[in-house]
């Protein structure tokens, strides 16, 4: 599949908050509660369309346990977007957000778009973090926020796509130099070389193998 742009995403957050499930829901539209725990990193990819342009999301799903932080940090490099996930039923996963955010700020590109996700919104009867608290944290730290459920798929599409839309807008606004891969954006073969470019990326079949 050809694409106009490829965005690198990284999903971060404590272990067991549902990072892999969010990814699977987004890429395969299914929920698999007995997914093997992630060691190191797993990859997923999906094509989306923004402003009529095919955009490929390459998503890095990371291991959440504290011991692996040092290795996780090496994955931030060149990510255009991040999904920072906590579990609304486990308070401690919310409390750890600041430390995740600091890692992201330190090791990722300063222009990386970060989306805060309160996952497991289907379990709101066991809620330990209010929506307002999530909103407040996002507001204080300049993040986009939504609650989502990998199980029911609520807001999963929206989370990934609105992050992409934000990144796309940054390209249009000239905030990113898309020829510089450290921003986590690759221009597809036959794609648009710059913010003002006009050629369509949809004309070169078989070029998108570096997913």
């Amino acid at each position: 599949m050809s694409y106009a742009y490829l965005f690198k995403y990284i999903i971060i957050g404590d272990t067991g908050v549902g990072k892999s499930c969010l990814l699977l829901q987004f890429t395969d539209k299914r929920f698999q509660p007995v997914h093997d725990l992630t060691i190191g990193v797993e990859f997923g990819a999906r094509m989306i369309t923004i402003d009529n342009k095919p955009i490929k999301l390459q998503i890095w799903d990371t291991a959440g346990q504290e011991s692996f932080r040092s290795i996780t940090r090496s994955y931030y490099r060149g990510a255009a977007g991040a999904l920072l996930v906590y579990d609304i039923t486990r308070r401690e996963t919310f409390n750890h957000l600041a430390s995740w955010l600091e890692d992201a700020r330190q090791h990722a590109n300063a222009n990386m778009t970060i989306m805060l996700i309160g996952n497991k919104s289907d379990l709101s009867h066991r809620r330990a973090v209010s929506v307002e608290e999530g909103q407040q944290f996002a507001k204080e730290n300049g993040l986009v926020f939504m609650e989502a459920s990998a199980k029911t798929a609520q807001n999963v599409e929206e989370a990934f796509i609105s992050t992409a839309a934000t990144i796309y807008k940054k390209i249009q606004d000239g905030i990113f130099d898309v020829s510089n891969e450290s921003y986590g954006i690759k221009v597809g073969y036959g794609g648009i070389p710059g913010p003002s470019g006009g050629t369509s990326g949809a004309s070169t079949p078989g070029s998108g193998c570096c997913s």
Binding site: T15, D36, I39, G40, R105, S179, K186, P193
Partner: protein, 666 residues
């Protein structure tokens, strides 16, 4: 964006105290060109030195290499040097330093840190245990870490405060014992800093393609050109030589090539440094080819792959001569019985290990054989002794298990660590091999056993605790051994060797990744050079392979075979590293030809999962291991997992080892 306030060390009492002490300084004239063709910066100054700073090559502090640690300032740059004492070095008390003489010079050279620019350092972690010696771990920007440096004469705080005086260092707000070097919050600061440090910095840095960690611009030029890059010359010449005599001679040559390559890159590196580039490698790629960047983004568009000439595998011919032996069928019961004497002792453990190395063990027999391979049973024990041992160990196990079983809900409320561990383990056992019938379904008894054994282990080895990846090790063990107590002891025996994979400071992983990089350097120098210029030398792309010994890379029946092959330690305790080299070499053409960067390589390696031919890989690894011979073992630092420092014949005799202590996952 919030600005973490961690730039100041004034809150650190250690730092403050050291400020009040005069720090000894001495100035020297540079002996000719010691720090490269620096020209102007000829004067260098030792701003810190400390005697008796040691490395413990194994987890036993009785084995140590002592040396002198120095910080040397030349111009604006600060270098760190740690040189081990030579045996009988003058002015050194032999009673205290004599231990170095028992270590080979090779071992010592392995650890020597020579003129490490502080700009190559990512962070320094300080450990100040209440008992024992203070030590630091220096982590490089590449992600590699040096082994811990123990300060037998104290001096960690002076060390840090000296660095603070001469380089940019900030305490991590994440961990008060981590000091980040070169920790720049934003690109502007980076630019400013490089201005400050080197006097030259291009604003273009902010927009042009930046290649992290590329060593020299010349290599980039070579990479793209149609002629071969410099490192391919020698090995290729060697290959045209139809020599029959292999290994050592070849490897000696390779080590020369390696040395040559290292010296060359070092020189280039210094030149580029003197040209004003920020020397931790943010070197612009486009200086050689302005046309390249204007035509297309500097990215390998798929159509261009395979256009890059790939240096020939230097061992191509040699490996075909010493190909690993054909694999055999797994050992069955009849054959197994031949190894046993009437009382059940294994008469020839080496022959047994050899047999298992070449073919593995039939499924039904694994239950018996694994207990020997893992070290739970000793080879010279009798049936009766083993039966007795099992009953004793069963009671031991129950005792340890009761430690957590007896925690009441009320007590648990006041025992956060326990709740955290239990919670994490419970979350993970239901995410471990659930697609296997042995572990599938709701309320599966075996999943509960996984939980019980892991939780019990986290009490047995409380310092190490539980870390993700352990359930991957335990799952096949429980599947094979079945019995709860025996699975526990087999797992504990395995963790004696591999527990440091799960140390919080990742020391075990770093040691293995470091050893792997050394092995690739001697077994495939062009590949090593490629990975170096692609800034992949931290080998993080092999992290999962090593952490759980390829558990996620092979199907279940294959992983059981591979593990028993590894556990024989027949050719090498570190055979798993040769497996890594074998796989990497198999795909070297693709890796180099497609000019994979770190991200692409990591993804590529991840996706090899369940697509690797096991028998072929083991044969390749055997050939590589033979080919590397002593040179291979010599480049693996002693104590690198899964090495045991001392042969422990029986599990129950094990020492309270964790001198390592500082680990603990959760």
């Amino acid at each position: 964006m919030q600005e973490p306030d961690h730039h100041d060390l004034s809150d650190d009492s250690d730092y403050a105290a050291s400020q009040q002490q005069g720090l000894g300084k001495s100035t020297f004239r540079s002996d000719s060109g010691k720090f490269g063709a620096g020209g102007d910066g000829g004067v260098w100054e030792v701003v810190y030195f400390r005697e008796n700073v040691a490395i413990h090559p194994t987890q036993y502090s009785s084995e140590r290499i002592s040396g002198r640690l120095r910080l040397i300032k030349q111009g604006d740059a600060l270098f760190m040097t740690w040189i081990p004492y030579k045996a009988g070095q003058s002015g050194v008390d032999p009673a205290r330093y004599g231990e170095n003489s028992s270590l080979s010079e090779k071992d010592q050279n392995l650890y020597t840190i020579r003129d490490l620019p502080l700009e190559d350092v990512h962070s320094i972690r300080r450990h100040t245990p209440a008992l024992g010696w203070q030590y630091i771990i220096v982590v490089l920007l590449s992600g590699l870490a040096y082994p811990p440096l123990y300060f037998y004469n104290s001096g960690v705080r002076e060390f840090l405060s000296t660095i603070k005086q001469h380089a940019f260092i900030a305490r991590s707000s994440d961990d008060a014992n981590v000091f980040l070097v070169n920790n720049f919050q934003d690109p502007l600061q980076k630019t400013l800093s490089s201005l400050e440090l080197h006097g030259v910095a291009s604003i273009a840095n902010a927009t042009s393609h930046i290649s992290f960690g590329s060593v020299s611009s010349n290599q980039d030029i070579n990479r793209g050109s149609s002629s071969n890059s410099e490192y391919s010359g020698k090995p290729r010449k060697r290959i045209q030589d139809p020599a029959r005599d292999i290994s050592i001679q070849v490897l000696e040559k390779f080590s020369l090539v390696t040395k040559f390559a290292r010296e060359t890159t070092t020189q280039l590196f210094r030149e580029s440094q003197n040209n004003g580039f920020n020397n931790y490698g943010k070197i612009q790629k486009n200086e050689d080819a302005p046309s390249k960047s204007s035509v297309a983004p500097d990215h390998k568009i798929e159509a261009n792959i395979h256009n890059v000439p790939v240096p020939t595998d230097p061992l191509k011919n040699e490996l075909s001569l010493i190909w690993g032996k054909p694999r055999k069928l797994p050992m069955g019961l009849e054959e197994w019985n031949i190894f046993l004497d009437p009382e059940g002792r294994i008469m020839d453990p080496v022959a047994l290990k050899k047999r298992i190395f070449y073919g593995g063990v039939q499924n039904g027999l694994r239950k018996e054989v694994w207990k020997f391979l893992l070290g739970y049973f000793s080879y010279n024990s009798t049936y009766a002794e083993r039966e007795y041992l099992s009953s004793v160990k069963k009671k031991n196990y129950e005792t340890i298990k009761f430690q957590w079983q007896s925690i009441s809900p009320d007590q648990a409320k006041m025992f956060t660590k326990f709740r955290e561990r239990k919670g994490l383990i419970e979350k993970d056992v239901v995410r471990t091999d659930r697609s296997m019938s042995f572990y599938d379904g709701d309320e599966n008894k075996n999943v509960e056993l996984l939980r019980d054994v892991l939780l019990t282990y986290s009490f047995y080895n409380f310092d190490l605790g539980y870390c993700q990846g352990m359930s991957d090790f335990l799952s096949p063990i429980l599947f094979v051994i079945e019995d709860e107590s025996e699975s526990f002891w087999c797992f504990a025996a395995l963790m004696q060797r591999l527990g440091s994979n799960f140390n919080r400071d990742q020391s075990g992983m770093h040691a293995q990744l470091f050893a792997l990089s050394k092995l690739v350097e001697i077994l495939d120098c062009p590949l090593h050079n490629y990975l170096k210029q692609a800034d992949c030398l931290n080998y993080f792309f092999c992290f999962r392979w090593i952490l759980i010994q390829f558990k996620r890379e092979f199907e279940y029946d294959q992983i059981m075979l591979l593990w028993e092959v590894l556990w024989t330690h027949y050719f090498s305790e570190h055979f798993h590293l040769y497996i890594c080299v074998a796989i990497l070499k198999k795909y070297r053409q693709k890796i180099i030809g497609e000019q994979m960067d770190f991200d692409t390589l990591l993804k590529f390696i991840n996706e090899l999962s369940c697509g690797i031919d096991l028998d072929e890989t083991i044969r390749d690894a055997e050939a590589l291991c033979n080919c590397a011979g002593e040179n291979g073992e010599a480049c693996i630092p002693p104590g690198t997992p899964p090495s045991l420092p001392i042969e422990t014949p029986m599990m129950y005799q094990q020492d309270d080892e964790d001198d390592f202590g500082k680990s603990g996952c959760i």
